[in-house]
């Protein structure tokens, strides 16, 4: 049977068997619970299938023409539009979003900048080693989860990385060592075996661990007998042994590592440590895999880089790219915008209240396909297809590998895809400008 790619999370499993007649999906085989919920979104109770405009405080259904006109009006009145989201859409839609931002002289950024984009930023000066999932499946021997809990966020990740045997070996779980570094005993600890290492580091003390490892790497026997950051001496020695002895090690980093600190930069120090270990390693190397939730979190930076040579956010003025020091957080905090276009994400729920309240005070246009907290605030809601099921396109997996998504069934009400909608908006505004 033909296999399809699931767009439930950034793992983009491409081995999913879907039984469908082109109109309904009857069976999904191989996808985990998160993937199944993604396929269920097609018939979700709170799905939005017609455009909505807020009139007298309530969202009511309107025609596409009225909705698009309303959006064009809001954007025309604005001088500094803010575009945010773009992690739940294809690369083609991300490209269309950047094209739109340039047309309306806006500031565009994706969810990645408050998540894994921080690693790419630092990587510009320090360098970064990535690896692919297939490499880890076939050759990996050390897997470290640092501040990451894939058992709850990306259920099949540990299945693929830790338990698979791969092409070249007879055994799987037995020859891979798992190390988990986390202050909380999460569900991921459930797959630990006798030879694995569980390091319950004290909260906010990861920096001491990294600095101690760096020191020990350079001059042996510098680990204090009482241990560091809540981890005892023998465990630290074992950790360093694994790090320097692994032939193909990978560190999977999650939210725990990318938190800001006032006196130091944890991301920078971790990248530094990895560079040090890789330089001293004679037969192997340690690479990184960055975890992220939305299925195309890695894509925006690739698209921005190939279109404009800039990764991360872009700001346009006079229809040209302009240099800016601001990121999405400072832009919103300073109130340096007068309307926002939110695409495929729910900032009212996931941003801190101090920022989401500022977005809520200005006109908000939402492009999404089901009810969220943001839809309860929006002035206009434009629904689109569910990517990976009702429309296709390119997406980047969490290990930076591009994967093609397919269309399996037709969308309801002839809904446009995100790419089509953003291009339509661009057309309307560009036409307005040249008149």
């Amino acid at each position: 049977m033909k296999r399809f790619t699931c767009s439930g999370c950034s793992l983009l499993c491409d081995d999913i068997i879907v039984q469908s007649d082109g109109i309904f999906i009857s069976e999904v085989v191989g996808a985990c619970l998160k993937g199944k919920e993604r396929f269920d979104q097609v018939s979700a109770k709170n799905r939005i299938t017609s455009p909505l405009i807020r009139k007298d405080g309530e969202l009511i259904e309107v025609s596409w023409d009225e909705a698009m006109n309303s959006v064009v009006e809001i954007i025309k009145k604005a001088n500094k539009p803010l575009l945010y989201g773009f992690s739940n859409v294809t690369c083609e839609a991300q490209e269309a979003g950047i094209k739109l931002a340039r047309e309306i002289n806006g500031f565009i950024d994706s969810n990645a900048s408050i998540c894994q984009g921080k690693f790419l930023n630092k990587a510009k000066s320090l360098g970064i080693n990535f690896t692919t999932i297939t490499e880890v499946i076939n050759k990996g021997d050390l897997i470290i989860l640092w501040g990451a809990n894939p058992a709850e966020t990306i259920p099949r990740l540990l299945n693929k990385l830790l338990f698979s045997r791969g092409k070249f070996r007879m055994t799987g779980r037995e020859i891979k060592t798992l190390v988990i570094i986390d202050p909380v005993k999460t569900a991921s600890f459930g797959v630990m075996g006798v030879r694995d290492l569980a390091l319950m580091v004290e909260p906010n003390k990861d920096i001491e661990l990294i600095r101690m490892l760096k020191e020990e790497c350079c001059s042996a026997d510098s680990i204090p007998s009482e241990g560091v950051a809540g981890i005892d001496q023998s465990d630290l020695k074992r950790l360093l042994l694994h790090l320097t002895g692994a032939e193909n090690g990978v560190i999977i980093v999650g939210q725990g590592v990318i938190q800001p600190h006032s006196d130091y930069d944890l991301v920078e120090e971790l990248l530094d440590l990895l560079q040090l270990i890789n330089e001293r390693q004679e037969k192997g190397r340690i690479s990184l895999i960055l975890l992220g939730g939305h299925f195309n979190m890695a894509g925006f930076d690739h698209v921005a880089l190939s279109a404009y040579g800039v990764s991360g956010h872009l700001e346009f003025g006079g229809n040209q790219l302009i240099k800016t020091k601001d990121g999405i957080v400072s832009k919103i905090e300073k109130n340096d915008f007068d309307c926002s276009i939110i695409v495929g994400t729910d900032p009212i729920s996931h941003l801190p209240h101090v920022l989401s309240s500022k977005i809520a005070r200005k006109p908000l246009i939402l492009i999404d396909n089901h009810k969220t907290a943001t839809s309860q605030i929006a002035e206009v809601v434009l629904p689109t297809t569910i990517t990976g099921i009702e429309s296709g396109g390119l997406a980047y997996r969490l290990d930076q590998v591009p994967i093609e998504l397919n269309k399996i069934i037709d969308p309801p009400n002839n809904l446009p895809s995100d790419e089509e909608l953003l291009n339509q908006l661009y057309g309307l505004l560009n036409q307005g400008r040249s008149e």
Binding site: E152, V184, T186, A187, V329, S349, H353, L355, A373
Partner: protein
């Protein structure tokens, strides 16, 4: 009492799932909740009928409490949600989602409803 707040992800407490498939009641049931160690539960004089008020300098939130053996002492865990994000802060132009210093106390007050939080947003200047 001073605690550390950590926002976490749990597959059963997922706000995207509740928004897409659930109701406001199911959203509140799954996400207006926090987890603490049983010893801390006793230290705070909590019982199942009381709620927990978690606050920092700027804001507060009132949620249900559940005991969880895997939570370290002095820490309170909340699933990522519009409730937990009332307490996330900005530091050096970046967002702090983990290890936020908060104050917790037991309270009889009702949990904060989803409608209340949205109402606050809708009141524009």
């Amino acid at each position: 009492m001073e605690f550390i707040l950590n926002s976490i992800r749990r597959i059963d407490n997922d706000q995207v799932k509740e928004h897409a498939f659930g109701t406001e009641e199911s959203l509140e049931e799954k996400l207006a909740i926090c987890f603490i160690n049983p010893k801390d539960f006793e230290k705070l004089n909590l019982v199942s009928s009381l709620h927990l008020k978690i606050s920092n300098k700027e804001r507060q939130v009132i949620v249900k409490v559940k005991k969880d053996d895997d939570v370290p002492n002095g820490m309170v865990l909340m699933p990522v949600s519009i409730w937990s994000n009332r307490l996330s802060v900005i530091q050096n132009n970046e967002i702090l989602y983990k290890n936020i210093v908060v104050d917790v106390e037991a309270t009889r007050e009702p949990i904060m409803k989803f409608k209340e939080i949205i109402q606050e947003f809708l009141v524009k200047n």
